[in-house]
């Protein structure tokens, strides 16, 4: 078994217009910048993929990564908990102009909806958001005297993930807090695409240390010198 692909272009091949795309990362930690930029390259060259629904905790920062996707006009809707950042201009301008949709989801509910999507659980009840505007229209039920809100799973057609180590079977480790949503998204997407700092042979990752088992991963590409969003921000980088 070998899930590695030759380059970033091959990694993001086949992502179609109008799909739900999950992108790992919380702020810059775990943001798969090179995969995102490869997708922007394809859009610039072919006009596709556009009209995407993107799932991430945030809605882009500066002029790179998800913000650059939004700038390029690839994103129809964001599903996120916090569409603000140090430099949220890309999203903010399009949102205020009515050119991009937004579904705000409490962070823990977002995580659990994605987890449920990957686990085959269509709905669950959470105390989060009960009695608030974000619970409007959702079923409520009482358990042991407390009220809970029904939330539904969130699944994706594809996910872009940044890992630390990947073996050819797609087993993954992450680096520090760059893990965040990525293991959940890897399971919730039909096509999980991973950029890893290093690709190793099966057996080189201690099975005890595997965080995402390879069954959740479809493609792996090595990006040895991946850039970190925060470092790019400090350089004032822009991607177009």
């Amino acid at each position: 078994m070998d899930k590695t692909v030759a380059d970033l272009g091959a990694a993001v091949a086949g992502i179609e217009d109008g799909i739900v795309l999950m992108i790992g990362g919380f702020g810059g930690a775990g943001a798969p910048i090179e995969l995102i930029h490869a997708l922007i390259d394809r859009f610039n060259a072919t006009g596709s993929p556009g009209n995407l629904t993107v799932v991430n905790n945030n809605a882009g920062n500066g002029r790179i990564g998800i913000a650059a996707m939004i700038d390029a006009g690839m994103v129809a809707k964001m599903i996120c908990s916090f569409p603000r950042s140090a430099d949220p201009r890309a999203f903010t301008e399009k949102y205020l102009a009515g050119q991009i949709g937004l579904e705000v989801v409490p962070q823990g509910t977002l995580a659990e909806r994605i987890r449920a999507g990957g686990a085959g659980i269509p709905a669950f009840y959470t105390p989060t958001s009960f009695g608030t505007d974000l619970a409007k229209g959702k079923p409520v039920a009482e358990f042991e005297g407390r009220s809970y809100v029904q939330e539904r799973w969130l699944k994706a057609d594809a996910a872009l993930i940044k890992a630390e180590l990947a073996d050819r079977h797609g087993n993954l480790t992450y680096r520090k807090a760059a893990r965040n949503f990525s293991p959940l998204m890897a399971a919730a997407a039909k096509l999980t695409i991973v950029q890893a700092a290093k690709v190793v042979e099966p057996g080189d990752i201690d099975p005890e240390a595997v965080v995402t088992p390879g069954i959740f991963v479809n493609r792996v590409v090595e990006v040895a010198d991946a850039r970190q969003e925060e470092a790019l921000m400090r350089e004032g980088a822009a991607y177009a």
Partner: protein, 224 residues
């Protein structure tokens, strides 16, 4: 002394109630300040939503590792015994009742324990982050806040007028003037600044303050 506590002093007061070895989540912004005022000999373990338990102070400038950040996206360090975990596990810790204390900021707190701290109304771009999750599950949910808004209106009210973060979730409020518990749908005054009369405090509070027991002096050292 000043006629009200500074933010640092409010954070100091809240820190005095955090037990040794408690698992604690501090909301981003002002509540993060609570960490620096732990009394000597106490070591709380701090949780951040993005998947770290037992993180420590910010590193020196130039020493940041941007894969090691807190929920406010600030660079942090690790203490011995730290762990990493994914977002679902992180919020299992929150909603599952595993945290001892969560400390949050507030726009308004109602006598019912309702909290409004995520949205100032329909204008602008809605952004909730982890606030609606954090108000559920911790054994104590405390708020630190100025007692009144910048234009002098009470932040402690009968019913919140701003969009709610959670219903009946707050158990204690540390303000610039007082320490107030929420019990049975009422504000119960525990401490107030010694130079302030009950009448003066009541005048800047939007719901009745009950005093079923002794009211201690709220005294905080000069801290920054």
């Amino acid at each position: 002394m000043s006629d009200k506590l500074s933010n640092a002093q409010i954070a100091w007061r809240a820190a005095q109630d955090i037990e040794n070895e408690a698992y604690v989540n501090l909301g981003i912004g002002f509540p993060e300040m609570v960490a620096k005022f732990q009394p000597p000999g106490r070591q709380a373990i701090f949780h951040t939503e993005n998947g770290i338990l037992n993180f420590g102070e910010s590193p020196a400038e130039g020493e940041e590792d941007w894969d090691l950040i807190n929920a406010g996206k600030k660079a942090v360090t690790l203490k011995p015994g730290a762990s990493f975990f994914n977002h679902a596990d992180s919020f299992a810790m929150v909603r599952g009742g595993h945290l001892d204390v969560a400390i949050l900021g507030a726009y308004e707190v109602a006598e019912t324990g309702d909290l409004a701290n995520w949205s100032t109304g329909p204008r602008g771009i809605p952004a909730v982050g982890g606030a609606m999750d954090l108000v559920h599950g911790a054994k104590r949910v405390a708020v630190i806040t100025d007692h009144v808004t910048k234009d002098g209106r009470p932040k402690l009210v009968k019913r919140c007028t701003l969009p709610l973060t959670g219903v009946g979730c707050v158990t204690r409020v540390y303000t610039s003037l007082a320490v107030i518990d929420i019990e049975g749908g009422c504000f119960v005054l525990r401490e107030k600044l010694p130079g302030l009369s009950l009448e003066q405090l009541q005048a800047v509070t939007g719901a009745e303050l009950l005093t079923p027991g002794p009211v201690a002096d709220l005294v905080a050292p000069e801290v920054v």
